[in-house]
């Protein structure tokens, strides 16, 4: 552990937490770790200290392919004027909850 740079020589992992059963895993942040098992332990110790989760995923950051900020207009603006894609043109029955 005397190596220069410490943990910053370790690869980066993205951390996803499921806060309750039935909910999706949500991105929480990232941590450094030597390998996937240690990444899981580090994620547990850094991100679930206050009852945040019931399940964890860790993914090598290099496995993520991200959209480029400069593509934002081409990728996302075309959806802006298509309100008919939103499911807002229905009458919701009174008994349906959680909408």
């Amino acid at each position: 552990m005397t190596g220069k740079g410490g943990g910053h020589e370790w690869p980066l992992y993205e951390v996803f937490i499921r806060s309750r059963q039935g909910l999706n895993h949500v991105h929480a942040g990232s941590i450094h770790a030597s390998d996937p098992e240690m990444a899981l332990q580090n994620a547990r110790d850094v991100y679930t200290r206050r009852n945040e989760g019931v399940s964890l995923w860790v993914v090598p950051s290099t496995a993520i392919t991200a959209s480029a900020p400069c593509d934002r207009e081409a990728l996302f603006d075309p959806a802006g004027d298509k309100v008919y894609r939103h499911p807002t043109f229905y009458d919701v029955p009174d008994d349906v909850e959680h909408l």
Binding site: M1, G7, M38, Q41, N42, D45, V46, R49
Partner: protein
Amino acid sequence: MSRSAARCTGTKAAGAPALFQYCLRLGDNALVLGHRLSEWSSRAPTLEIDIALSNLALDLIGQARMLLSYAGEAEGAGRDEDALAYHRDVLDFRNVLLVEQPNGDFAHTIARHVFYAVCARAMYEALCQSRDTTLAAIAAKAVKEMTYHERYAGEWLVRLGDGTRESRTRAQAAIDRLWPLTGELFETDQVENELSARGIVPDMSGLQPLWRARIEEILARATLARPEECPMLSGGRSGHHGEHLGHLLAELQYLPRAYPGAVW
């Protein structure tokens, strides 16, 4: 220190002196090791390890609070967790020598923790079946924590042993140095025999083969050598501590002694 059973009432109190001694041993182990780990705060090799070691320390301090509170109750002399933690001197501490060892390098801290956590997990697992409902409840909480401690420290030891030449050398040195202190974890005496005969605590000597097997499994994965059989050191549980515990207590106990009754 009053150990008069006559002052106690209720069925639990019948074995109070033994129960008091037993809770003190477990509580002191957790308190001293928890304090040792807290010494890493802000100094650990990486941010992730810093937070992890602080988490482990807090688990242990939490266990110490429950055990020392219950020790005070069993003693029946009006001492609470704070009185026992902050107002006893070194000769009255009942922790094993292993947990008071200085942190040394990271490998040393991890080796110490593997030895302790594997033992504590097995012990609390058995203690969950205690006829004493308070001890069983404390054990039920602690066993979950110690299961993670064993996993965390065990996985680290594997990586240090099976890592670089430097980490391997340090890990083996730590294992060799601490090995003679592991026998004390499984010593039994009249206090434990009495409680174990009544189904209140597990027989530690019976847990030793389990500990051995688990440690050998971890060492094998870590490609580290198990030390040769050697004479074991002991004395901590009867108050014969090494030179280091006094320094630890000086820091641990400074504030409540310098400012009695301080609150914040």
